[in-house]
Symmetry: C2
Subunit: 451 residues, 2 copies
């Protein structure tokens, strides 16, 4: 995979050797995201100096992309005038994100340097719950009135557009700010000057509520290919917009959360390298404990069959293969269903189709694995009863079927009872299938081998 | 989770009862994605009729969103004139997507009804490899010349913008189509009429090559919050753009692929409910076979310790708990690293930090699990030697440490040798850790219990 990387080492060398004129020139050619990445890699003593080299227009954008430690450091070091300029240039959603992570005394300095309007806005936005649409929206959108002519509308955009998050979609509201429609900049530009906004606006608008789960908004972006989505309050008044870049972040975070849950981890929002050892241990231990204790049940089941495996110790040696294959077969099915649920391709509604499909697939797969297994045991152990090989293979067959049915159904059950389906993945499925496969194994052994 | 759903049942009832006037009116209020979803749910006999109700402006958009079976059906039923209109209205990327999936005779009908220019364009685009940027780009972008005034540029956009995929970002090229810069519609509108495009354009443009992996492009969108990204050929000539909606699809597909690989599935591009039983069995069986055969090694290891577990059969009952906990502990670490690699938060570079962190985390987690386990065994089995409890707990401790180190390192090794890290997940880790934990278990049992 080719990497599109700026030359970070070169820039760091420039900073270390105080080649600030060179550095300043190079930074003007860099995307703000990369500038922030570079500043984040600098020693603390350099951060303030390098940040000072930035042009005023990009300072706030770079600031918004900095790691929280650097934001905190800069807020401490900047004078009130400088800080105030940056805060006013930040998008509300970026400012709110940052404030949510800063310690209280730093937050006070930020709010003290914001204008009363910005302060009020930030305080308002901070009240939305963490995973709600309100928490990721921004209030910097273009609003138009329906009776404006296209020319007036475009003039308005040209005059007010500077501080807006996007002008690609404009929003049409009435006097009480109720959302009446949307007009894309393309539709506006393509219309003739004397037409009115209401002639080109789209009246059937899909919008979300401030209190909706942010995942709902993200799914809508994915489904309808939106670039921005209007957010309304309980009275259908337009209060903000969510832009696609924030929706993409939500999707990526939700995916990470799913993958973590599927691996029996309690989700963490911090990147791996920034999570402390104690935090990490905390996020891992709960599920391991639960699963370990559940795994003890398997031990209790095994105990009941002590006589059988003392009589034929060889039976023990097939246990890991049988339980692992069962676990893998079940996890395959559960992973497909969990992902299908997440992207909206399947729903609990489809349970009968899923059971029927898993049943047929598992019969084919189980039979194939059982056959390979039988042949292999007969070849490897020439001097044992072929009944042992048959016992193991028959167990394999039934275990695969059972595992795939359980793996296919449990995520649907979870969804139905409003539990996150992602926990019904490999670890839990394996634990359940383990116990069942051993019961099948020794029941068949009892019948066929008389132990 | 609230659902934003149109009333599909009502629409289907309208179609069944031939209330076409009603239906036509209702469809005008629906997003094209939903119209396509609705048509996809109709019986074949209704598809053509309902598609005929659509207004000309939305027909191509709806068509682009239909399932491939319906596209094929419509291409068969539409007359040349109707088909030609739709094909010319499709985006090149949508047309190319569709043609990639259609049978050859249908493709011929499509190409016959395209204008020579469109036909040439489609043929050209079809030549890009499946996962390349070229395969997801579109050629419908706005290009400007640097010496145009803002007024001329906006006029040009107003005249040519209709069929463009986006006008939010416009592209500045020289006479030979070399990419010289980009100008957002915002920058253009906010500038004064007599300024020139070159005064407002961004000269430091991040672009991708047609031959780049589409995942590279998707990552750039995520990193830089782009809405569109220019695509250049080997001579830096602008040949297309990728828009964020296509990048989002790529991200989602790549995530699905990763989750499938992590669950020992061979990735499939089809949704669960549309994949046939045989296909599904095929995608599942390979890895199950590989893992089953690898699992046999664990059996061979166990055989060497037959004497030990015949002497103390109780030892057998702890095997599933020990191997499962080891597998789970290892999968936790591997899932974190696989995801970290996918989103670019860690790299093979960081291996020493990762080993050091996993070591410390696993010591804490392993010690806690071992302690719980010890207490539980001593309480449950009052009449056995506490040495057995100690053996199990010590094995637990070392297994967790080993599992987490293996789980943390293997994805990095895979990345380093250009294998997809996603295969180093639960199934493979479990198989490896199983064998190791059993060796640890019976070695400790041999030392402490003398078996």
């Amino acid at each position: 995979m080719q990497d599109y990387q700026y030359n970070k080492e070169e820039l760091i060398a420039d900073a270390e050797n105080h080649r600030y004129a060179d550095l300043k020139e190079k930074l003007t050619h860099l995307n703000e995201v990369d500038v922030a990445d570079f500043i984040g890699a600098l020693p603390a003593t350099q951060v303030m100096i390098v940040f000072g080299l930035l042009e005023k227009e990009v300072a706030a954008d770079v600031f918004a992309n900095l790691p929280i430690e650097n934001q905190e450091q800069l807020i401490n070091s900047l004078d009130d005038q400088q800080l105030s300029t940056i805060i006013e240039d930040l998008s509300v959603d970026d400012a709110v994100d940052m404030i949510g992570e800063l310690p209280a005394n730093i937050v006070r300095k930020v709010l003290r340097n914001a204008t009363p309007e910005t302060r009020q806005m930030i305080n308002h936005f901070l009240r939305y719950p963490d995973d709600s649409v309100g928490s990721i929206m921004t209030s910097e959108f273009v609003d138009l009135k329906r009776e404006l002519t296209i020319k007036e509308a475009i003039d308005r955009i040209r005059h007010t557009g500077k501080d807006k998050e996007t002008i690609s979609t404009c929003y049409v509201t009435d006097q009480e700010h109720h959302l009446e429609g949307t007009a894309s900049i393309k539709d506006l530009l393509l219309a003739s000057d004397e037409q009115r906004v209401e002639d080109v606006m789209e009246k059937d608008v899909i919008s979300v509520a401030t209190t909706d789960d942010q995942e709902v908004a993200a799914r809508l972006f994915n489904k309808y290919d939106f670039v921005a989505l209007p957010v309304v309050d309980a009275e259908n008044r337009l209060v903000g917009i969510v832009t696609v870049d924030d929706a993409v972040d939500v999707m990526e975070d939700e995916t990470t959360e799913d993958i973590e849950k599927m691996a029996a981890l309690q989700p963490s929002e911090k990147p791996y390298l920034k999570t402390s050892v104690m935090e990490m241990a905390k996020h891992r231990i709960l599920w391991l404990l639960i699963l370990m204790i559940s795994g003890m049940i398997t031990g209790i089941i095994l105990e009941r069959f002590t006589d059988a495996f003392v009589a034929i110790p060889l039976l023990v040696t097939f246990i890991p293969m049988l339980t692992d294959t069962g676990g893998n077969a079940g996890s395959q099915s559960s992973a497909l269903i969990i992902r299908g649920l997440a992207v909206g391709e399947v729903s609990p509604h489809d349970w009968l189709k899923i059971v029927w499909k898993e049943l047929r697939v598992s019969i084919i797969v189980g039979a194939a694995l059982a056959a390979v297994n039988y042949v292999r045991i007969v070849i490897t152990y020439k001097n044992i009863s072929s009944m042992i090989a048959f016992t193991v293979s028959l167990t394999m067959f039934f275990t695969v079927i059972l595992a795939k049915l359980i793996g296919g159904i449990l995520p649907l059950v979870a969804k139905k009872i409003h539990v996150d389906p992602a926990i019904m993945a490999a670890p839990l499925i394996t634990t359940i299938v383990d116990a069942m496969s051993l019961i099948i194994y020794f029941s068949i052994a009892g019948k066929l081998l008389g132990v």
